[in-house]
Amino acid sequence: MEFGKLFELLIAASLINNFVFTRFLGLCIFFGVSKKMETAVGMSITFTSVMVVSAALSWVVFTQVMVPLDITFLKIIIFIGIVAAFVQSADTIMKKVSPTLYYKLGVYLALITTNCIILAVPLINAGEGYNFLESISFGLGSGLGFALALVIMASIREKLELADVPVPFRGLPIAFITAGLISLAFTGFSGLIRL
């Protein structure tokens, strides 16, 4: 497996097909936790690591269990099960092993199950037939892309708090319009790599 292809996948997943700005997944979390920089960073770290592990786990289950047994039609149910089970166990293990880390990141862990990206990545991996390393780098790229989006948005929204926004647009509406402008900037990345 050439390293170049993996790197291309990573760039494509994080910048060109950024999940938030071009595929619009994970918006609920995106708007929910981008109010403060601190929470945004915490969420980014937790999210990226969960993303990579769940991409790897669901690849193993998909190719080693589901394809041989010919039950790929159950993929939605099984993937959501894997993610939920993994998040729950990570939560329990973290609480025991490292309470300080749990205190900092535990809140985000619970939120992650409701994030659609976490389900979309295994589904896309299965649909495109990526191999193990490709699946992982796609997962990592998606995680980093989400982290990037979250950090950009949080830094803008912290400034927005002080701005004089017209009353009907305060809160979410202006956040949406800001996201639209960032998204416009991200269109500039399209065509960076041809896959």
Partner: protein, 210 residues
Amino acid sequence: MSLIREKGNWEIFKNGIFGENTIFRMAISLCPSIAVTNSLKNGITLGLAVVFVQVMVNVTVSALRKFIHPKIRIPIFMFIIAGYVSIIDMVMAAYAREAYREIGLYIQIIVAFASIFARAEVFASKNRLDKSFFDGLGMGIGFLLAMIIISFFRELLGKGTLYGLKIVAGKPLLIMILPAGGFLAVGLLMGFFNWIDIRFYGGKGASGAA
């Protein structure tokens, strides 16, 4: 939520469409509102899929509410939702190939919709079958209406067409069907509904609070 329990079916139905409209009021399940609203057809297709899933999930959860142990309710709700989504997914893959190619991923993502889970948890697990049915119907149709409104504007401005028919001549605003246009359209519509709320009903702009 205790007030809602005394309401009639019609009020429950209306609550989903206006009072607690998923997109414009509660501001949840936003991902599809932008992803598939670049044409009216896609918006309506996904909206109908959501109506089906929401109603069926509410009915099932309500029917089984006495048997579901509260401690394991979350995974059970998840599996009920995933089951109905799989049905829709496979039906669409078989009979609506054209639409499935464009919005198939988002159909599968319905599993992770906060709104469907929220209604199962907040309403269906505590209420009678008929009430849950109307709650699901109202919520689903409220979502469908929001999708129609957003995709109406985006397709009209972005392509100059409606449901594939040419309406406006001349050069369309390409930005509206680009990803960025989705965010802008939802932001502006939300602001508009807030403005109506503040101007005519003396509200504080519900979706601004989130």
